[in-house]
């Protein structure tokens, strides 16, 4: 039994999905968090006998089909029927839910709407669970009426009832259900109320194949038009498995994909157009407005009879007051910068650095213990070096930065979960328009501060191809979290008293260079205006501990996975190349005769104008292409140090001015191979290669000027 979860954005779909399936799904307040569907199996107890009954019924059908096919010697059909019966038996009692993207209508204007509509029309779920936000019922019911037209068993889950009732509102559930012609179940997904009743109602509706009792919400000219078109296209609609009423409504709206799908003849198209034109003339309005008006008239009447609205909710009043300050015309951006500065100070200057130092001490203690133990067992010196100077030094140097990453994302997830990040996207819209983008592009860029790869993929939410391509090219300038260990190590070594300030300068610098590149692209390769930006600002709310914890757990898990895979492999390769020469003879520690030193010396003249001529620096930058954290682990291995002693070793390789240039180069040069691969998937190999080369060139030029400027001060 498969259900589709459909509803507006921020109506609580993903919260409900989590409650139903127990999956770790992220709950976000701003657009672009969910684009593709997610599936899960309902794990709640008390799923009940209904799914089992449903599966038994389906099994009986399958067995009947099998016997008929066998009787008619249709072996293939018989085999298919039996295979499906086995499948049903295996899935006995299983209810699956598919979390569809948040949409406001079933018109195919955005990728989210297309994904949802295609799923509902082509995948034929057994039922729809339409989540409606009770605190915003009119807007949510607009989608409900369109979903009803799909003529699929459906249940309306009236969410956020706790908030609605707490503010003094009431809803006549039975009246609402009668008028809509579908069961309505009040729930509170965040408080886990009404969920079992919802599952029971949904399963019963789907098992009984209880279709919506009402399809007609129109009257007058719209009614006549829709029914005329429905009669005209009935056979075409049935041929492709689309409800005629739904097909007719879409044709009246001027839905080109539906027109194409129905494959109408020219004569039929003319007749449809004639009906629609008559309606427009009679009503004195265009077709889309006529249909929207029809639906909202019905909704207004329904709400008037079935809903007693509360006064403005406390949450909304509080949100409006906070927005007066946080989205103020002049104060919004300074406030945002101040909040980010505070977060950076707490992360790099207080909490994160303290925890990181603690972890470093622990890692060093473990390394020393292992080294003693291996020495006591009489391990071969080369093998001993591989384990201690290679693996432990390399991986350990990266692991010590885990607390910094966790603390940073703790604060960022608190901001996101509270609803503030949605406001930031709104505030950034004005600034982004100056470089030819809209506030919608801010979402992928914000994700880019975590990792460029999901950020690049998140650009699929942008409806404009121009905006999408430009955002992909600019997102790598948003410094990803993999570079944090590099920044943290160098600030510790060269700027211990100004860590937070240096960090924020790096992040701001990356964004500034991104803005400049945006201006160049806007006036050259990406002419044109960005699309309009419409976004819902949900109420501010207390961050959910569960959501914050889930995000932190995912972040930590990803970091540890990379440390013990990519970094681990890179560390061993680096150790090998720097321990042996071309004839596989062991060279002295830090020796200039190793394979790596030979290759590094070949590269180092390129970076001489930037102030760092040591071959180890250029080699470390090269390994950063595999994973940015590898820069730190490579430096640790090449200098034969650990987390505690690496800062001192760096002082022997870099001057302070060269360190600034190195950090600048790291900030701006090509992203890691995974990010380049993501760009290749989205834009093609040519664009990806050009981006990597141009970014590296730009990084070199900027680092050169930064070095020259830094020489004046240090």
């Amino acid at each position: 039994m498969i259900f589709a979860l459909a509803g507006n954005q921020n109506c609580g779909k993903t919260t409900l999905f989590n409650q139903l399936t127990g999956s770790n799904q992220h709950v976000g307040n701003f657009p672009g968090v969910t684009v593709e569907r997610k599936e899960g199996v309902v794990t709640r107890a008390g799923r009940g006998a209904i799914p089992r009954l449903w599966h038994r019924m389906r099994q009986e059908e399958r067995h009947r089909a099998f016997h008929e096919a066998a009787r008619d010697n249709a072996l293939r059909e018989a085999r298919d029927a039996m295979r499906e019966a086995h499948e049903d038996r295996r899935r006995l009692g299983e209810i699956r839910v598919v979390d569809l993207p948040g949409i406001y209508s079933l018109s195919p204007y955005t990728n989210e709407e297309i994904v949802t509509r295609d799923f509902l029309l082509d995948s034929h779920p057994d039922g729809i669970i339409n989540i409606v936000d009770a605190t915003n019922i009119e807007r949510n019911l607009y989608l409900t009426l369109q979903l009803i037209e799909l003529h699929i068993p459906m249940v309306v889950a009236l969410n956020m009832m706790d908030e609605f009732r707490a503010n003094g509102g009431t809803i006549k559930i039975k009246k609402l259900s009668e008028e809509l012609g579908v069961p309505v179940v009040p729930i509170s997904a965040v408080k886990n109320e009404g969920i079992d009743e919802l599952i029971h109602a949904a399963a019963a509706t789907a098992a009984a194949r209880q279709l919506p009792a009402r399809l007609d919400f129109c009257s007058g000219a719209v009614h006549r038009c829709i029914h005329a078109v429905a009669h005209l296209v009935e056979d075409h609609a049935e041929r492709i498995g689309v409800p005629p009423r739904f097909a007719a409504t879409k044709l009246v709206e001027g839905d080109a994909p539906m027109m194409e799908r129905l494959a109408l003849s020219e004569n039929e198209k003319d007749m449809v157009e004639h009906s629609v034109t008559e309606m427009e003339q009679e009503l004195g309005t265009d077709r889309e407005a006529a249909l929207a008006d029809m639906r909202y008239c019905f909704i207004d009447d329904l709400v008037r009879t079935a809903v007693v609205k509360p006064g403005e909710s406390r949450e909304h009043v509080r949100s409006v007051r906070m927005d007066a300050v946080l989205t103020h015309k002049y104060f919004a951006i300074p406030i945002f910068l101040a909040i980010m500065l505070l977060i950076f100070w707490l992360t790099f200057g207080v909490i994160g650095s303290f925890l990181s130092d603690l972890l470093s001490t622990g890692i060093d203690a473990v390394t020393a213990s292992v080294s003693s133990a291996l020495g006591a067992y009489g391990l071969n010196p080369v093998v001993h070096s591989l384990v201690i100077d290679g693996v432990f030094a390399g991986v350990g140097s990266v692991l010590s930065f885990l607390p910094i990453i966790v603390v940073l994302f703790f604060f960022l997830s608190m901001l996101e979960d509270s609803g503030y990040m949605a406001r930031v996207a709104f505030v950034m819209d004005k600034l982004l328009r100056k470089i030819g983008l809209s506030g919608r592009s801010f979402v992928p860029m914000l994700i880019g501060f975590g990792c460029s790869v999901p950020a690049i993929m998140a650009t699929r939410t942008l409806s404009s191809e121009r905006d999408r391509r430009m955002t992909i090219l600019l997102t790598p300038f948003m410094s990803c979290s993999a570079k944090l260990p590099i920044y943290a190590m160098f600030t510790m070594a060269f700027f211990p008293s100004h860590r937070a300030l240096v960090m924020i300068c790096l992040y701001a610098g990356g964004m500034a260079v991104g803005v400049l590149c945006g201006l160049v692209l806007k006036n050259t390769a990406f002419h044109g205006k960005p699309v309009p930006f419409v976004m819902e600002l949900p109420n501010y709310r207390m961050p959910s501990p569960k959501s914050v914890f889930l995000l932190l757990w995912d972040k930590a898990k990803d970091f540890l996975t990379r440390a013990f895979t990519v970094i681990f492999i890179a560390t061993i390769v680096i150790w090998f190349l720097q321990t042996f020469d071309t004839r596989l003879n062991v060279v002295a520690a830090g020796g200039e005769a190793s394979m790596l030193a030979s290759f590094g010396r070949f590269l180092s003249p390129i970076f001489a104008p930037l102030g760092f001529t040591d071959w180890r620096a250029s080699t470390a930058l090269l390994t950063g292409f595999s994973a940015k954290e590898a820069v730190v682990s490579t430096l640790a291995v090449l200098t034969g140090t650990n987390t505690a002693t690496l800062p001192a070793a760096l002082a022997g390789i870099f001057t302070p001015a060269a360190a600034v240039a190195f950090l600048t180069f790291t900030l701006l040069y090509t992203p890691c191979v995974a990010a380049v691969a993501a760009v290749k998937r989205e834009l093609g190999g040519g664009h990806a290669a050009a981006m990597a080369v141009c970014q590296s060139g730009l990084a070199w030029v900027v680092a050169f000027f930064v070095y020259r400027a830094a020489l004046l001060f240090v």
Binding site: V33, E39, R460, D558, T565, I572
Partner: protein, 54 residues
């Protein structure tokens, strides 16, 4: 080289094989946070992907 050397090298070789195997199986993934990623569903192996609705 003593037996302990071969043991340690063997263990490291096994870890490298496992790491390479993991990296190859998850190539095309970002290796980054699935939470918050709009395309997390697309990262699963087709073999493990749920068959989806009929």
């Amino acid at each position: 080289m003593h037996p302990i050397d071969y043991l340690v090298l063997g263990l490291l070789a096994l870890l490298v094989v496992l790491a390479v195997r993991y990296a190859v199986r998850h190539r095309g993934r970002c290796g980054g946070g699935c939470a918050g990623c709009p395309h997390a569903d697309g990262c699963r192996s087709p073999r493990k992907r749920d068959p989806g609705p009929k």
